[in-house]
Symmetry: C3
Subunit: 192 residues, 3 copies
Amino acid sequence: MGRTNQFPSLAILVLVLVLVLVLECSATPISKIRAHPHPCKRLVFYFHDILYNGHNSKNATAAIVGSPAWGNRTILTGQNHFGNMVVFDDPITLDNNLHSTPVGRAQGFYLYDKKDIFTAWLGFSFVFNSTEHKGSINFAGADPLMNKTNISVIGGTGDFFLTRGIATLSTDAFEGEVYFRLRVDIKLYECW
Amino acid sequence: MGRTNQFPSLAILVLVLVLVLVLECSATPISKIRAHPHPCKRLVFYFHDILYNGHNSKNATAAIVGSPAWGNRTILTGQNHFGNMVVFDDPITLDNNLHSTPVGRAQGFYLYDKKDIFTAWLGFSFVFNSTEHKGSINFAGADPLMNKTNISVIGGTGDFFLTRGIATLSTDAFEGEVYFRLRVDIKLYECW
Amino acid sequence: MGRTNQFPSLAILVLVLVLVLVLECSATPISKIRAHPHPCKRLVFYFHDILYNGHNSKNATAAIVGSPAWGNRTILTGQNHFGNMVVFDDPITLDNNLHSTPVGRAQGFYLYDKKDIFTAWLGFSFVFNSTEHKGSINFAGADPLMNKTNISVIGGTGDFFLTRGIATLSTDAFEGEVYFRLRVDIKLYECW
């Protein structure tokens, strides 16, 4: 008798647990605090920025298009280029060699936004159209140029549909104020 | 006897399954690879860009505000307008007629960022304040103007609170270098 | 006999429920419609924008870097400054006092993008490096300056790793066309 009562109560316990679970699942834990996950994809690229300086229109991949009243658009302004806005269309390569076959283009803009040190704000996309990757990754964020920094991966299309993550930028090399090479270590945390 | 042992072991099996499930649910599968979902909302709009050309200040909805050293801000520069930055405040309509009642405004900027073909990088918002939609949708991404392309929906407010998705842009019509009509097919994958 | 059959069927029922649940959980409810959640973090800051006007280069934290053909870069243009693009590097404070110790810098740009009323489109980051906060929060969106409005939190780094949310901007004070103080009420809905 005692044992026959035991089974239904076990079943009820399980049902309650299941119900709790259903409620938990449908409660969308999105607004809760989560532990740091591992990236679902990790990619490293280089891109190469050759800034127009009045003499290199053939090779240039970037140009100053905005500057404050005290500057002009051929030479980067003083005060750490504060206020200069640069538009770029740079080749992306898998290694640090400017002459390697590009796997895509880095397209967008950066603006120098600090008076006392070099700092930039960037909005740009990696546009891929190779056998390995099709689609785009979109980035935005602040970059203290002379340090490693993280910016946000704010979205993507194609192979990178709806992705999100972090990109660590570092200035890998620069020559004068004309050539800049950036290393981008992309860690994606939402893959579809 | 055999049968009376069977019931508790079944219950234990179920409990283990439930536990596994609880752990799985709380492990936030965000960093896992997911299958392509269906949009939770789909919207199609048109927006109409009338670029200031020195003679149309009354009708113009957009103006060149940045250009490289070799250009000016009244006429789009050569080399596929590379470096031109345009700010716009364009009416959004439900059909392709410029004179239809606008349901909102498309506000933001685009910049021509490629020397060899037309390509733009866009950052803009759709700002709605109609009976049907209130709030905004924010977009960013690269757009090869002469092809259909996808850019990212990076966020939203109001009716589009925290949304994410993809927007397919296509140049629906253009007249000279003054009037451009863009069709935007918005697919949202996160709705609240 | 009837009772001994009852237990397996109960167990099967529970197993089916569990299976349904497993499928539901693994189906990533991301593309479903969700109820408004509560923020997982809420922060209020002020930032202070002192626009360069030709006479205040020492104190200025912002400068006009783009303007339409009919304007210049020292004085904001007519027609509600339509087309003016401003780059800024503003101190962030915890209260509304410009002279409080900054907890970080607001870096990025805004552009006036409406002819008939004041409206801006903003892309910027809060960059923190204090004992309380390290990392950055990235914002984008349209802001009708004379009203409270919501823009999107599109990502973050460091303490704000991969965050998303809403920021309510309000112009807390302004003096002429030189000093603007903005209050930012940040509500984050994805915390890691």
